[in-house]
């Protein structure tokens, strides 16, 4: 015992450099990605914001021009159409692909045979680029060669499906094509959601005498409400970025009826040599995104807090 009596208390061991390194490894590992994302998100956006206030035309230049670019942008009919289109398209596209995706997911969830086959059929458009989608659908919408001609050839002579040639309806051609392409993704997410619903809930509703429709409406769908939000957010960012699809499908036409902000930004910056105004348009796109994203992020943070509070 005397040995112990004499033993000095082992001093708090100074943390070795290895331990210290160990504790910052996670931060070090994250750093490059963070730096890249930071540059990508903030520096790039900041630069664009700055350009939008500058007198840049053919090439970036850094003379301050105040809000001139914005004034000029908003006095442009084409931009107004593009911005209106964005909201019109986003609305229908999101609602459409969610509705179709949900319907498909519900159908597939009815324990159908050959589920994998159906799922693959509905999912494959996602694999195809917008360029290809746009090109192929532009053939289908072609009033002379496409579906309209085919159906009329079958004897239904009033049939009309020449959306891309009709100024007032061309936007719906873009919407339909967009829905065609992305509803499979919505389906996959909804299916994932439906599969995560406690089967006992459905059984309870069955015993409670609820019809299938009522069970979905009142019990299952409210339970997967967060999925709706996730799908909506993902689709919104697709909608706002819409570029390739329109470029390949209608090229913004007929007229300027299907111009979209992304196309307009691209045109201004590269074809027309109006970098300043193009940047202003880009900033307006970001603003549209922010309208959606800021409340969503707040909601996510709030939900995470709430979950942490419960768990």
């Amino acid at each position: 015992m005397s040995i112990h009596d004499l033993s000095v208390p082992i001093a708090v061991p100074a943390r070795s450099w290895r331990d210290r390194l160990g504790s910052i490894v996670p931060i070090l590992v994250l750093a490059p990605s963070l730096a890249a994302s930071f540059v990508y998100v903030f520096v790039f956006t900041g630069w664009t914001l700055y350009l939008s206030l500058s007198d840049s035309t053919l090439l970036p230049s850094y003379g301050f021009a105040g809000l001139d670019n914005y004034v000029s942008l908003w006095s442009n009919r084409r931009w107004n159409i593009a911005y209106t289109n964005l909201f019109l398209f986003s609305g229908f596209y999101i609602v459409g692909s969610m509705a179709v995706g949900l319907l498909l997911a519900i159908l597939i969830d009815q324990r159908v045979r050959g589920e994998a086959v159906w799922r693959t059929i509905f999912l494959y458009p996602l694999a195809v680029s917008f360029i290809v989608t746009g090109t192929v659908w532009s053939w289908l919408y072609n009033p002379v060669d496409g579906i309209q001609a085919l159906v009329r050839g079958l004897g239904w002579s009033d049939f009309s499906f020449a959306l891309t040639s009709d100024r007032n309806h061309a936007i719906y051609a873009v919407i339909i094509t967009g829905v065609w392409q992305s509803s499979g993704f919505a389906m996959a997410l909804f299916l994932a959601g439906l599969r995560s619903v406690d089967p006992d809930l459905v059984k309870a509703a069955q015993i409670d005498g609820a019809s299938v429709v009522r069970t979905y409406r009142k019990v299952i769908l409210p339970t997967i409400a967060p999925i709706f939000l996730a799908v909506a957010v993902i689709q919104i960012q697709f909608a706002i970025k819409t570029f390739d699809l329109v470029a390949a499908l209608t090229r913004g036409g007929p007229g300027i009826s299907t111009t979209f902000p992304a196309i307009y930004v691209y045109d201004l910056m590269f074809q027309r040599g109006e970098i300043g105004e193009g940047a202003a348009a880009a900033v307006m796109m970001l603003a549209a995104l922010a309208v959606v994203l800021v409340p969503y992020s707040l909601w996510v943070v709030w939900r995470r807090r709430a979950e942490a509070g419960n768990g």
Binding site: I27, F38, V112, Y124, G184
Partner: protein, 298 residues
């Protein structure tokens, strides 16, 4: 007794009739939708086997009368695009050499980031995560010129490496999001056990996390692969000529200059260009849905 039995039979029969009609409706609807989804694909597939003359005569939508593979051969190896007449094979390979490394790198980075953000949380890591998330929403057009500047400074213009860099940086947000959400579901106890077992940061990552990751890695790889493969704008702007990816060649084909179109070759080209992602979905679709179910999206 007999009456009762009869009543029971009726009840059972009614039940099975209801069942039949509801099944009929389900399969009917699915078939209609499947047709809508498949028609565009079929049109292209058929056209790729038809002759241009036949397409010009019978229109774009029709069953093939002939079955020829010339269009495919032409699209692959002899059609003139971008000043050379070697079809799309070069572009196809370019796309592969760009897509595969970019997919692998961005997926790995996403996995590591997700690992840190879910299992090695530190003060402010949630904020950093939200920051990275913002990248998901950046429209590509905004980044075009800044990227040109950065690639120029790095000496990576006109090179596949430049494109790989662009796609990796743009992809990190998505891959990190997917992986983090998935890793959150892996019990923390596993990490604690491994720490007590003396494993460090990397050992835990490679030995514990990675073996558990296939479901999410498949989702991420599918997502990244299709996204990068199908990307067009950056491919066109940051590379040129023989270095361009296949989407650029496709656009060249479909938006041909002042010459007549060959729908047969275009169709074959469209299919060649869409084939790798299609195959990935065909074979990986099951895992994609499963991976999503396991929490890629939350």
């Amino acid at each position: 007794m007999a009456e009762l039995a009869a009543a029971i039979d009726l009840e059972a029969a009614a039940a099975s009739r209801r069942h039949f009609w509801s099944r009929f409706a389900i399969y009917g609807l699915l078939t209609v939708f499947a047709a809508i989804y498949l028609i565009p694909l079929l049109v292209v597939v058929f056209n790729s086997f038809r002759e241009q003359a036949e397409i010009a005569r019978d229109g774009l939508i029709s069953l093939p009368r002939t079955f020829r593979l010339e269009a495919w051969a032409q699209a692959w190896s002899t059609y003139c695009i971008a000043g050379t007449c070697q079809g799309m094979q070069r572009n196809f390979l370019n796309s592969l050499w760009m897509t595969i490394p970019a997919t692998i790198i961005s997926t790995l980075l996403g996995a590591v980031n997700g690992y840190v953000l879910s299992k090695w949380r530190f003060k402010g890591s949630e904020v950093l995560f939200t920051l990275m998330l913002l990248g998901v929403f950046m429209p590509g057009q905004i980044a075009l010129m800044p990227w040109a500047f950065v690639l120029g400074k790095l000496g990576l213009t006109n090179s596949t490496y430049g494109l790989i860099l662009v796609h990796v940086v743009q992809g990190i947000s998505f891959t990190t999001l997917f992986c983090r959400n998935y890793y959150v579901g892996i019990p923390d106890d596993l990490i604690k056990a491994a720490r007590i077992d003396g494993a460090g940061f990397w050992r835990i990552f490679w030995k514990i996390i990675m073996p558990l990751s296939p479901p999410i890695l498949i989702v991420t790889v599918i997502w990244q692969f299709t996204g990068i493969w199908n990307e067009y704008l950056f491919g066109v702007v940051f590379t040129s000529g023989q270095a361009q990816p296949i989407t650029a060649a496709l656009v060249a084909l479909t938006a041909s200059g002042t010459t007549a179109r060959s729908y047969d070759v275009m169709s074959a080209a469209v299919l060649i260009g869409a084939l790798p992602p299609l195959l990935i979905y065909l074979f990986g679709g099951k895992y994609f849905v499963r991976g999503l179910t396991q929490g890629a999206i939350k």
